[in-house]
Each structure stands twice: as structure tokens, then as C-alpha cells.
């Protein structure tokens, strides 16, 4: 299978097979006008099978938050058909409105429109805790 190469854009590679749609939704890619290709079950030497997302635009989106979902993902930034950056997303120090606090005693359960914020408290693990009540994210 061939997808047109990108002039300016972002290729999210080495996504665990089957996780591509989750990342597509997580990044809210349905909301953008640009072409986006979600390719699943691509044969991979390293992984057996993998998913890839190609975005035909240099969108200003926070890709580091992907580190929370899967730190093994590779992000490639393409400018004028040349790859200018290649990196793994780092574990974000904070993640906002991605997961919800499950503690029934947490202020997030009653205070309206309060963002659900988790902070990285232990890189080995990794462990994220609710900013407000410090309950561990599951």
C-alpha cells in the first residue's frame, strides 16, 4: 500500500498496531481540514505490525502528550519533503483533560469546569497523580 509522500507535515510512526485510531481521536484529527492518513497493520521489522498516521500539514498540536499513551511512538517532522526532526515523545510533566480523576472525594467531582490535570510524580513507572487530590492515575 502506498500513500502519497508529504511535502510539509507530520508522520507519527511505530504506533502499536491497533492503537492508531485511539491516537487519531486523542489528537482530535477529525477536526482539521488537512489530509490525514491512518494506515493500520503495516508490516514492521521491529514490531511485526504497526500503525502509522500521516498528517499533511504542520499542525500546531501537542504531540508530547502522546508520551503518556505510548512512549515508543516516533514522531517525524517533514519540511519541503525532508525530514527535519525525528523524536520519541517525552513523558509530559502534566496532562490535562486526558484522563479523569477517579477519587470520589476529589474536588474535580463537584467543581464545575475544573480541568482534570495530572502531574508526573515518578518517571519510572510512570506514575501520574491528580494535581488536586494526588490520587494515582489508573
Amino acid at each position: 500500500m502506498n500513500i502519497d509522500s508529504i511535502t510539509n507535515g507530520i508522520v507519527i510512526d511505530h504506533i502499536k498496531a491497533g492503537k492508531g485510531m485511539e491516537i487519531y481521536k486523542f489528537l482530535g484529527l477529525d477536526a482539521y481540514e488537512c489530509s490525514v492518513a491512518l494506515i493500520k497493520n503495516v508490516p514492521s521489522k521491529k514490531m511485526g505490525k504497526k500503525d502509522i498516521i500521516k498528517i499533511d500539514s504542520l499542525l500546531d498540536i501537542d504531540l508530547n502528550a502522546l508520551g503518556y499513551i505510548d512512549p515508543n511512538i516516533t514522531i517525524n517532522v517533514i519540511k519541503n519533503e525532508v525530514r527535519t526532526e525525528k523524536y520519541h515523545p517525552e513523558l509530559p510533566e502534566r496532562i490535562t483533560n486526558i484522563i479523569k480523576c477517579k477519587n470520589p472525594r476529589c474536588i474535580t467531582t463537584t467543581e464545575q469546569e475544573l480541568p482534570h490535570i495530572f502531574k508526573l510524580t515518578d518517571k519510572n513507572g510512570p506514575v501520574y497523580r491528580c494535581l488536586y487530590c494526588e490520587t494515582k492515575a489508573q
Binding site: N103, R105, I107, T110, E111, L131, Y132, C133, E134
Partner: protein, 305 residues
């Protein structure tokens, strides 16, 4: 805007300076009588805690300031569904500093994001209660002269008892502290608190028996073992007496042991011990007021010469 939500919001230097101020207030109360003249403390108690509220209010009155507020959610805007953010935003136009107690964990932190004046967390559910820890620290300082080289026994509910967690984290910043954790298996200290305590470099000894270790302790911090923490009544009945301090168990303790308890006590310390010179828990409540005075002064940026 500087607020105190967690005991670790205060550096060791700041805690030392609060202790110095509190000691000075104890020695020279007259000097501080007008320190907060014209200032107002709002005590926003979204859940009742008479002891803590009276301590804050007495603290402000002794500094010559005024107090306004409410003592339970029923009599406040919260009963009408107003958010913490909105309540605090409005109150911060009326007061110079806010002491806030709330049943929801994290509520004072949310308040501190919106407030125009400093927020002191006066307890958020079972989460943080930094001024209790300040009271504990002043008690230890006055009874023991310092924080280094102490063997600190913590007894009872070490799993859910947040005062214990905060005290461990605060004390683990000093040197050569040894903690002896005395609890039933069901109520052991969570591992993450141990890890957080100086990244696991602190020495912890765990035991189920108070009698086995009491002779080694410089401080014994008692907490309540609550019936509802147990899976079944039989376990509770079997265990509860092991974590009650009696004159009998004190026989082998050091002469200068300092017995502490955050209060209120139910039955975990026998009343017979109240007159023992080693009983410090009522003094601890008194010291809490002086540390709250020192904290109010610090957050308002008032220094008394």
C-alpha cells in the same frame, strides 16, 4: 499570591522561622497584640471542625485582627451550589487572608488559583492539613530541642492517617531521623509515602507491637484506629486494644518520651496518662494556635520588631 496548601509548600528555613516566631509569641504575647490590627481573616469552613476553626479564630484575635466567615456548608453559598472558585473570589475582596476547610480533596488548591489573598488549607477531607503538621513540629521542637537524631514512633492507622504522612515528609527533611511504624497489616504506611520521604533514604522499622518498641522511642505519635477501616468486626475487636496506649505499656518507655496525638482522641490513649508529664497532646493543640499566628503573620508579610 502565596498560599499554604501542603506542608511541603514551606521550606525548612521557612518552617524554622515560623517556629522562631511562635516561640517569640509565647514569650512576648503583648508584642503581637496589635500586629494584625485592621486585618481580617475569613474562616471558610465548608465542613464543621470546631477545634481547628477556633484555633484559627483565636490566633487572629490574639494578633489584634478580626474574623468573619461560616462554620458549615449549610449556612454558606455552597449550599446553593456556588463553586469554591466563585466563593473564594468574592470573599477575597472582603478579607486579607482565608483559612479554608473543605470536605473535597484539593478544594483549597483550587481556591488558591482564584483568590486575591493568601489561602491557608485548614484541612481538605483526608488529604492535607498543613497547620496540624506545624503544630506537631513546634511540639517536637519545644519538647526535644530540635529535629535531628530522633526515633519517632507512629502508631495506629498509618494508611489513611494523613497527618502521619505529612509529618513523615516534613521530618524526613532533617538528618538522621528514624521512623518506627506501629500498625496492623491492614493499616500499614503506603509505599509511596516511604519513597517520597527523601527518595527512600530514611530508615523505617515496621512492627505490629507497640510494646516491643516503645522503649526505643523519643516520640510516640498516636492516631485513631477507626472501626470502618476494617473489613470485618472480628479483626477490629482483635486488634483495637493493641493500639491503645495504657500506663501498663508505658512502663518501659523513656523518661523523656513525648506522647503526641492530633486529637480528637476517642480511646486510643487512656485518660490515666493525661497527667503523666510525657503526655504532650493538649500542649500540641495549644502550640497549633501559635503556629497559626506565625503563619498568618508570614503570609500577610507582617514582621513584629
Amino acid at each position: 499570591m502565596r498560599s499554604v496548601i501542603d506542608i511541603l509548600d514551606l521550606s525548612v528555613d521557612e518552617i524554622n522561622s515560623l517556629i522562631d516566631t511562635a516561640n517569640d509569641i509565647i514569650e512576648n504575647p503583648a508584642k503581637y497584640q496589635k500586629a494584625c490590627e485592621g486585618k481580617k481573616l475569613a474562616s471558610l469552613f465548608f465542613e464543621p471542625s470546631t477545634r481547628t476553626r477556633l484555633s484559627f479564630e483565636a490566633a487572629m484575635y490574639e494578633l489584634g485582627g478580626h474574623v468573619l466567615g461560616f462554620s458549615e456548608a449549610q449556612s454558606s453559598s455552597a449550599a446553593k451550589g456556588e463553586s469554591v472558585s466563585d466563593t473564594v473570589k468574592v470573599v477575597s475582596y472582603y478579607a486579607d487572608i482565608i483559612a479554608m476547610r473543605h470536605p473535597k480533596e484539593g478544594a483549597p488548591m483550587v481556591a488558591s488559583f482564584k483568590s486575591e489573598v493568601p489561602i491557608i488549607n485548614a484541612g481538605d477531607g483526608g488529604h492535607n492539613h498543613p497547620t496540624q503538621t506545624l503544630a506537631d513540629l513546634l511540639t517536637i521542637k519545644r519538647e526535644k530541642g530540635g529535629f535531628d537524631n530522633l526515633t519517632v514512633g507512629l502508631c495506629g492507622d498509618l494508611k489513611f492517617g494523613r497527618t502521619v504522612h505529612s509529618l513523615i515528609l516534613a521530618l524526613s527533611r532533617y538528618s538522621n531521623i528514624k521512623f518506627v511504624l506501629i500498625s496492623p497489616d491492614e493499616l500499614r504506611l503506603p509505599d509511596y509515602v516511604k519513597q517520597e520521604a527523601k527518595n527512600g533514604k530514611i530508615e523505617f522499622l515496621e512492627t505490629k507491637s507497640l510494646e516491643d518498641v516503645i522503649s526505643t522511642l523519643d516520640i510516640l505519635y498516636m492516631t485513631r484506629v477507626q472501626r470502618e477501616r476494617f473489613f470485618n468486626e472480628a479483626d477490629y475487636i482483635r486488634l483495637k486494644d493493641s493500639y491503645i496506649l495504657t500506663p501498663e505499656k508505658l512502663k518501659t518507655a523513656k523518661e523523656n518520651l513525648c506522647i503526641m496525638h492530633p486529637l480528637p482522641r476517642v480511646n486510643e490513649i487512656s485518660v490515666a496518662i493525661d497527667d503523666d508529664p510525657r503526655a504532650c497532646y493538649f500542649k500540641q493543640a495549644m502550640y497549633g494556635k501559635y503556629m497559626r499566628m506565625a503563619l498568618i503573620l508570614m503570609l500577610l508579610g507582617i514582621s513584629v520588631k
